[in-house]
């Protein structure tokens, strides 16, 4: 049985900070952040910003299992005027626009519709932005602006079919209870009609078997499996079916990525053809060893998590020589193609130093690159993670 001290020492970077000054060290310049337990329904989180809340999941949580507990799940809001109180009996989900029957659904009415349940990773478009080089402005996240949950809800398709989409509709736009400052654009995101009707996009009322924390979108949030979280509108209250492309700020100007194969451009490039951010590329992490850790020589069990993004995890590989050679890792149980998947491997460490790397390939053919892509938004970061380990 390891003592707590030994466990922390094994995690490397965490060990040095005394309790009174414990900060999360995210691993980039100006990347130390305080912890906070001051937010409703949340345990200890990394404080990125109080208002509007930006709370990051401490990385060690990802070692505990493939499902991220609701009280440790990251939270991110754009505007400070978030719903400060929600009465579920009074909440209505309105469906308007190019439909035959506009709807105003109570939670009770929604709960009578068919159900779907699936595991899916929710990841901020800017997760890991602090690791982007050269650095860019925006939320300076470590790797904890992501989480995996078992989502339960009603297929968006069932609600849209009830309303009856008119011929010629092209997009479906979603809004929540958060309010912009005076004259600023309301936070609205949209999906193409075919995507909205794919049967997987969900109006979720539960995550991990419980109602959503208010900071994660209580009472309802959109779940868009395989897509970045910007589309997963929280405290969902309005659905508009549009008969023309959505030209609102949050689709037309914000959250755009270069229209290149990997979404990257040469650092510093500001002019390029762009598209709205969309599906997630694969990622993988070592969760039981930190960069800078000191380990004894000999065999050591390694484990971590991987996700394929828009498709299942096809393969996870481990390297002990910084990516020169790779060996397959064993995959844990498949809990659904959009979720985290556990991987395990045993590595024999010889005295000296080793650069451990982990790489995920997704079923759709996307593979993590050794170097992260660069774009001015700091989006899509999914470089192969590398950990320098001292063996002594």
């Amino acid at each position: 049985m390891l003592s707590r001290r030994q466990t922390l020492a094994g995690l490397g970077a965490l060990a040095a900070a005394p309790a009174w000054a414990r900060e999360a060290r995210l691993g980039f310049a100006n990347g130390d952040r305080p912890y906070t337990s001051a937010f409703a329904e949340k345990g200890e989180m990394i404080l990125q910003r109080t208002r509007a809340p930006l709370l990051e999941t401490p990385f060690e949580v990802f070692d505990e299992g493939v499902f991220t507990p609701n009280d440790r799940f990251y939270a991110r809001w754009h505007y400070q005027d978030i719903p400060l109180s929600v009465d579920p009996r009074a909440h209505r989900l309105k469906v308007t626009g190019a439909v035959n029957r506009p709807l105003s659904l109570s939670l009770a009415e929604l709960l009578k519709l068919p159900r779907v349940e699936l595991a899916a990773v929710n990841q901020c478009s800017g997760n890991s932005r602090g690791h982007v080089g050269p650095r860019v402005a925006g939320a300076q996240w470590g790797h904890g602006a992501m989480g995996n949950a078992l989502w339960t809800g009603v297929p968006l398709k069932a609600v849209l079919e009830r309303a009856g989409i008119k011929a010629g509709a092209v997009a479906v736009r979603f809004g929540g209870l958060d309010e912009p400052p005076p004259d600023a654009p309301r936070f609205l995101k949209s999906l193409a009609v075919d995507h909205a009707l794919d049967g997987e996009v969900m109006i979720a009322f539960a995550m991990n078997g419980a109602s959503l924390p208010l900071l994660n979108g209580y009472p309802l949030r959109l779940v868009v499996p395989g897509w970045f979280s910007t589309y997963w509108v929280k405290a969902l209250s309005t659905i508009e079916v549009l008969d023309a492309a959505d030209d609102n700020f949050w689709m037309k100007t914000a959250y755009r990525i270069p229209a290149t194969a990997d979404g990257g451009v040469a650092p510093g490039t500001s002019q390029f053809e762009s598209v709205p951010i969309n599906t997630m590329p694969p990622r993988s992490f070592v969760t039981n060893l930190r960069d800078g850790a000191v380990v004894p020589p000999g065999p050591r069990a390694l484990r971590g998590i991987a996700f394929g993004g828009a498709s299942a995890v096809a393969k996870v590989e481990i390297s002990r020589d910084g990516g020169a050679s790779w060996l397959p890792a064993a995959l844990g149980p498949d809990q659904g193609r959009y979720g985290f998947r556990r991987w395990e491997a045993t590595s024999d460490f010889a005295p000296g130093t080793a650069t451990l790397a982990v790489r995920c390939a997704a079923a759709d053919g996307r593979v993590q690159p050794m170097r992260g892509v660069w774009n001015p938004g700091g989006y899509l970061y999914n470089a192969v993670e590398q950990l320098k380990v001292r063996v002594a």
């Binding site: 109080t50 208002r51 939670l107 650095r135």
Partner: protein, 95 residues
């Protein structure tokens, strides 16, 4: 299929929907006095950790941020303050 349906119903029975509320924790300690203009113009809409956590950004980038806050979010920044505000941001987190 029957099993799935039953488990979904069981889940629905166990998920409770009660009124929920949220109180913002206190803002962090303020920025230094030298950044008074930043405090005045920026922290009405967001707390200051966000500024302090930025990487060192160029003067042009900070100027673009100020312009974006005015153009997109209609931040009530007096144009007469722009030059001094950018200076203060550069002093705080500039290259």
């Amino acid at each position: 299929m029957k099993v799935l349906l039953l488990s979904a119903l069981a889940l629905a029975a166990s998920v409770t929907f009660k009124p929920k509320s949220f109180d913002y924790p206190a803002d962090p300690p303020g920025l230094p006095d030298s950044a008074e203009l930043v405090t005045q113009n920026c922290t009405g809409c967001h707390s200051s950790e966000f500024l302090a956590a930025q990487p060192k950004l160029s003067r042009a980038t900070w100027a673009a941020e100020v312009a974006k806050m005015r153009k997109v979010y209609h931040a009530p920044i007096d144009p007469a303050d722009d030059a001094k505000l950018v200076e203060a941001l550069v002093a705080l987190r500039g290259e």
